[in-house]
């Protein structure tokens, strides 16, 4: 009998940094909010900025989530995603303008009905457009990144020009419905109602997406498809069909984001999707391509950063987001929550 080995196994707890590691991306949001609190002298303006940052982040998330899933699932990079944002905004706002009598009425129910109608029509329109876009533009260039980028940019140009054909080249100004105008005062800070609503809608969309992805069969197939598409196909699922579905859903969400963005800015132009694309790309990159959670965190970070910095130093607002992207990519080159293996 030999003696028991000297190196008895120890049950040591993981060090704090090891345990925090996986949560780091999530913790970044409160850290940024606290940093904002320290940097901004007045508490009330900090609160206002935090709410508007969160609202902006939620809207960017809604616009970006489809893009990240589409890439994760089918390795398709869609530079024309912004087109859905613009079309959604134009369709939705046109409906709102048509329902002018409902949006100007002081009744909350009528206002909400009008907004709901606008959102539904916009989502239907962009969903249908997404289906057509996938068929005509994206399908012939599967598996070819260079061509995908070129062709989707071409699609973006065509859609932008078509918007100008149908709605004219001038920007359209609009008023938010009665119930969404104005602000409420909380702890001395003026919080615009619309921004609170945007935060709420964003949370609902995120929760719904998480539910679908985590708790349903279709979500399981989508997640498995992102992890390893070939295996899912080998098991007998028609991944192409799933992909088309995700593309349509993503386009419809971009349309929703477009309507919300248009109501937020109170002006819409044919180029708004193109401009939103820049923030969307930053968000998708820092979140990690293919990850909905990463996209959500990234969007909130970008929204908060943009608002804080725009308050402290207006001139460097957009650069600050580039800085954020650089810092995060230095830390995690594949984005915060990488899902897709390097391809």
């Amino acid at each position: 009998m030999s003696a028991a080995p000297q190196h008895a196994p120890k049950m040591a707890q993981l060090s704090l940094s090891d345990r925090l590691g996986p949560w780091m991306p999530v913790l970044l949001i409160p850290i940024l909010i606290v940093l904002g609190f320290l940097a901004i002298p007045s508490t009330s303006s900090w609160l206002t900025l935090t709410v508007s940052g969160l609202a902006m982040g939620m809207m960017i998330f809604i616009m970006a989530s489809g893009l990240t899933l589409v890439f994760g699932l089918m390795d398709v990079i869609n530079f024309g995603h912004g087109a859905f944002v613009s079309v959604g905004a134009f369709v939705g706002i046109s409906i709102l303008l048509m329902l002018g009598h409902m949006t100007e009425a002081p009744s909350l129910v009528l206002n909400l009905l009008a907004v709901l109608a606008a959102v539904l029509v916009a989502m239907l329109a962009t969903g249908a457009m997404g289906w057509a876009f996938e068929r005509v533009i994206v399908k012939p260039v599967y598996g070819h990144h260079l061509k995908q980028i070129l062709v989707t940019v071409g699609g973006l140009i065509v859609v932008e020009q078509l918007i100008i054909v149908f709605w004219g080249p001038e920007e359209i100004y609009l008023m938010r419905p009665e119930a969404l105008q104005g602000a409420i005062t909380f702890a001395g800070a003026a919080l615009e109602k619309y921004r609170l609503v945007a935060v709420g809608v964003g949370l609902v969309v995120f929760a719904a997406m998480r539910f679908v992805l985590r708790r349903t069969k279709i979500g399981l197939i989508v997640r498995a498809g992102v992890e390893n598409g070939e295996m899912v196909q080998a098991l007998g699922y028609r991944l192409r069909l799933v992909f088309v579905g995700v593309f349509i859903a993503g386009s419809a969400l971009a349309g929703l984001g477009g309507v919300m963005w248009g109501l937020y800015q109170e002006v819409i132009t044919a180029h708004m999707g193109n401009q939103a694309m820049i923030l969307i790309f930053i968000v998708v990159i820092i979140g990690g391509l293919g990850s909905v959670e990463g996209c959500f965190i990234g969007a909130l970070l970008v929204g908060l950063m943009q608002n804080y910095v725009a308050f402290l130093e207006p001139k460097v607002a957009l650069i600050s987001n580039i800085g954020l992207m650089v810092a995060i990519l230095m830390w995690r080159p594949m984005g915060m929550i990488p899902v897709v293996k390097a391809k």
Binding site: I77, V158, P169, K315, L318, K343
Partner: protein, 352 residues
Amino acid sequence: MQNRLLSGDMPRSTVLALILGAILLCLAFAPFLFPGVRSVDTAARICIFIVLVASYDLMLGYGGIVSFAHTMFFGIGAYGVALASTHMGRGFDALLVGSASGALVAAALALVIGLFSLRVPAIFFAMITLAVASAVAVPVSQLSNLTGGEDGLTFQTPRALGPAFKFGDELFGVRLNGKLLAYYFVFVGALVLFLLMLRVVNSPFGRVLQAIRENDFRAEAIGYRVVFYRVAATCLSAAIAALAGSLYAVWLRYVGPDTTLSMELMIDILLMVVIGGMGTMYGAVIGATLFVVAQNYLQNLMGAASDAVAAVPVLPELLNADRWLLWLGVLFILSVYFFPTGIVGRLRGARA
């Protein structure tokens, strides 16, 4: 001699050779063949865009790298000349300093972006360049005391390149003034840069780039440092784009965010490269010529067509002169699908 000048990259198609020869002749004698301010301006633009588009093709067509920051480099060159001329006074030394420093800054920036994006998946490169380019355009339009903001900068080029400078009487009915010299300054500069790029892409370096474009994994396996070649191509392309920007600034004697940095310009470049033909320098020549001529003259045609169908609904709107980008976009998508090698590829293929 001819072979040496073109670095052994002959047009390899009679039609293509004729078209290229015609373009060269037209550009070389543009002030005499097409007198008039507007047509000479068009010719100068064509020269500059040929260089700019060719430098983009160096990255896209030869290296397979998609960048959306090309106008940023173009703008850096243009602003370099503008700032140097504003602060050093009008003179050729200012032009030299401005364009050299512009090219250096552009190459350095390309190096930083290139090295940074090596850490991340290749697909990020296009997105990162898009974000960086739009971020750079913002301070340029905001730092109005340095860059003139949205209004841009108007500055003076050396006296010898201005219309007030006369060095003789008329020749074939064309006034021999500084504007003529400025045109030939642009033309010669563009020609030299173009031949230089033709040399680069037909060198062993260019061949390696093409190998990387076709199959980077294999190129790496053969023993080429893919990363080094990609970054080098990006830097070179950025420096040449900056020089094209300098030429543009010299020609216009003005720089502004809209003329040098806008996203529209980037899309124009993309259209020119793809329609002309990716992966050949001659594609840049044909694409740029076709595009600039179309930009200047096709619009009138479309306007006429729009008036002709005024009775039909929607059609006039679709044919409106301002909607020409719509049709180019459609043409762009079709050409990516059906003739990805562009006009030049078609012409060369027809012969074979």
